[in-house]
C-alpha cells in the first residue's frame, strides 16, 4: 500500500519550483549567516570567559564544535537525500546530495584541523589515534570517496545511484563518531550539547557556541543552495525556463 505524499513533496521535486523557491530563501539565509557568525565570533573571542583549566585555547570550541556538528549533519543529509532520490526517483534529491559532498568535506577538514590545533596545548599532541579522531577522519575519507565516485561516471543517473548507495553505507560511521567517546577510553571530551541534559558549562560560554552552530548551519544552507541551483540549471539546460534564466542573467 502506497500512501500519497503531500503536495509540497512533489513541488519540491520540480526543478523550476526549486530554483524559484531557493531564490526567495537565499537572501534571508545569507543575512542570517552573516549576522550569526559575526555575533558568535566576537562574543566567543572577546566576551566569553576563559576556561579555568584550558585558558584561552578553549575559544577554539566556537569553531571546532560547530564544524564537527555540521560535518556530520551534512553527511546525514547527503545520505537521506540520496535515499529519497533512490526511492522516489527524485532528481532534485540527487542534486542536493551531490552539492553536500564538497561542502561537507571542507567542513570535516575544518573540524580535524581545529581539533589538532586544540589538541596540542590541551593534550600535548597534534594527533592521537583515538576513536573519536579516527572515526572523524573516516568521515572525511567517506566524503572524498563520494566525490571521487560521483565524478567517475559518464552517465549522471549511474553516478547518482552509486554515490547514494555509498553514502548510505557510510552512514554507519555517524553513530560510531557520536558514541566513540562513550564506547572507548578516549582523550576527547564528551559532547557539549545533548538533548536530554543542560550543558555542563555556564551560559556565557555555551550561548555564543549555540549562535555559532546556527550560523554554521545558515552558511551551509547558503552554499548548498547556490551549488544545487547551478546543478539544476546544468541538468535542465534544454528547457525553456532555463534558457530564460540564462538570457536574463
Amino acid at each position: 500500500m502506497k500512501k500519497k505524499m503531500p503536495r509540497w513533496f512533489y513541488q519540491l521535486a520540480s526543478p523550476k519550483w526549486f530554483y524559484e523557491f531557493t531564490s526567495a530563501l537565499l537572501p534571508w539565509f545569507s543575512a542570517a549567516a552573516i549576522l550569526l557568525l559575526v555575533t558568535g565570533t566576537i562574543w566567543g573571542l572577546v566576551f566569553a570567559p576563559a576556561d579555568y583549566q584550558q585558558g584561552n585555547s578553549f575559544r577554539i570550541i566556537y569553531i571546532h564544535v560547530p564544524a564537527s556538528i555540521l560535518a556530520q549533519s551534512c553527511y546525514v543529509m547527503m545520505a537521506v537525500a540520496g535515499a529519497i532520490g533512490l526511492i522516489w526517483k527524485m532528481k532534485i534529491a540527487h542534486v542536493v546530495a551531490g552539492a553536500c559532498a564538497p561542502i561537507g568535506a571542507s567542513i570535516a577538514v575544518m573540524s580535524l584541523a581545529t581539533g589538532a590545533i586544540w589538541g596540542k596545548p590541551t593534550w600535548g599532541a597534534w594527533w592521537v589515534w583515538d576513536a573519536r579522531l579516527t572515526s572523524m577522519l573516516v568521515l572525511l575519507f567517506l566524503y572524498i570517496g563520494v566525490i571521487a565516485l560521483n565524478s567517475a561516471f559518464e552517465n549522471k543517473a549511474s553516478a547518482d545511484k552509486a554515490t547514494a548507495i555509498l553514502s548510505l553505507v557510510g552512514l554507519v560511521n555517524i553513530p560510531i563518531i557520536k558514541y566513540s567517546v562513550e564506547w572507548w577510553n578516549t582523550l576527547h571530551q564528551p559532547a557539549t550539547f545533548t538533548v536530554t541534559a543542560k550543558p555542563a558549562m555556564p551560559p556565557e560560554m555555551w550561548l555564543p557556541l549555540l549562535v555559532m552552530v546556527l550560523g554554521f548551519y545558515c552558511f551551509f544552507a547558503v552554499i548548498l543552495m547556490s551549488r544545487a541551483r547551478v546543478e539544476v540549471l546544468q541538468r535542465e539546460k534544454r528547457t525553456d525556463w532555463v534558457k530564460k534564466v540564462i538570457q536574463n542573467y
Binding site: V46, F47, P49, S57, P102, S106, A113, S226, R227
Partner: protein
C-alpha cells in the same frame, strides 16, 4: 575590552595566541573557499551557457 584587560592581552590569548588565531584563520580560509568555489561554479556555468545559447540561436 570584554574579557581581556588590553588589546595585547587579547591578541596573545594568554599563551595560546598561536593556537586560537591559527584555528580561526583556518576556519576563515575554508569559509572563503566555499563562498568562492560556489560563486565560481555559477560564473562558469553562465559564461558557458550564454555562449552555447548564442551559438544555438545563430544556427537557427
Amino acid at each position: 575590552m570584554g574579557y581581556f584587560s588590553s588589546v595585547t592581552d587579547f591578541l596573545q590569548m594568554g599563551t595560546h595566541g598561536l593556537y586560537v588565531w591559527l584555528s580561526y584563520g583556518i576556519a576563515l580560509v575554508i569559509f572563503i573557499y566555499n563562498i568562492f568555489s560556489a560563486y565560481w561554479l555559477k560564473r562558469q556555468y553562465f559564461i558557458n551557457a550564454k555562449r552555447r545559447l548564442r551559438r544555438e540561436q545563430g544556427t537557427v
